[in-house]
């Protein structure tokens, strides 16, 4: 639906503009398919049934690098309960990300948004940004930026969604 490509980001922007985290009417997350680190592909709609936390990150972003090990901890803890972390790297050239991930191993899928299409459709307004999607594929929370202590906020939000 072409109008959805304009409508959904506008709706997301209108709903979440100006707040770090927000709850309210839940629009469906824009679907996408992106190449994954292991060579395959990840399609968002195929993850329906699980709680998904999409984390938009880049190697050049200090707070992004800081939170990565903490995101790994959240993924490891809640995966058995039907949750997955999904890292979306926004760099046009994935070499830096591939290199960095060798030193900071994570077990959750990492995909590459090289043309910034997904960042744009989700209306990413800060680096990093974390989007929480429930089991029905609806966007429930958007968290902008990362400050020490935010990992506790992430854990609370994930816990809430996993219980549904």
């Amino acid at each position: 639906m072409r109008s959805a490509r304009i409508l959904i980001p506008t709706l997301l922007l209108a709903l979440f503009g100006g707040t770090a985290t927000a709850t309210g009417p839940a629009p469906p997350a824009p679907d996408f398919t992106l190449p994954a680190r292991d060579g395959g592909e990840v399609r968002l709609s195929e993850l329906k049934g699980q709680v998904v936390m999409i984390n938009f990150w880049a190697t050049w972003c200090g707070p992004c690098r800081q939170e990565m090990p903490l995101l790994q901890q959240i993924h490891a803890k809640y995966e058995p309960l039907g949750f997955t972390m999904l890292g979306v790297n926004v760099e046009p050239d994935s070499a830096a990300a591939q290199n960095w991930l060798k030193d900071v191993p994570v077990s959750f899928p990492i995909v590459f948004d090289r043309k910034s299409e997904v960042s744009s459709s989700f209306g990413v307004e800060a680096m990093p940004s974390s989007v929480l999607i429930d089991r029905e594929g609806r966007v429930r929370h958007v968290h902008r930026g990362y400050k020490p202590g935010d990992e506790a906020v992430y854990a609370d939000l994930v816990r809430g969604l996993v219980k549904e």
């Binding site: 880049a58 050049w60 910034s116 960042s119 940004s129 902008r144 930026g145």
Partner: protein
Amino acid sequence: MKTIARILCIASLFLAAACGSVEPWVKPYERQNFADPIMALDRDPVSSAYINHVFEAREGARGAVGSHGGGCGCN
């Protein structure tokens, strides 16, 4: 000089008034160049402070050196 000061004052008021109604045309995920250390306006403050002191000690002019801004724009 007073004219330049006035222009700058008006410009900053304009910016403040227009706050919120302008969509950022460089997205936060497009800022990798500014996060590169070679793009930093002041890569080594201990060194730039010294050379600016060399200038100020030998020249009549002073002020309007240094800048804030740029960078990765995270958080």
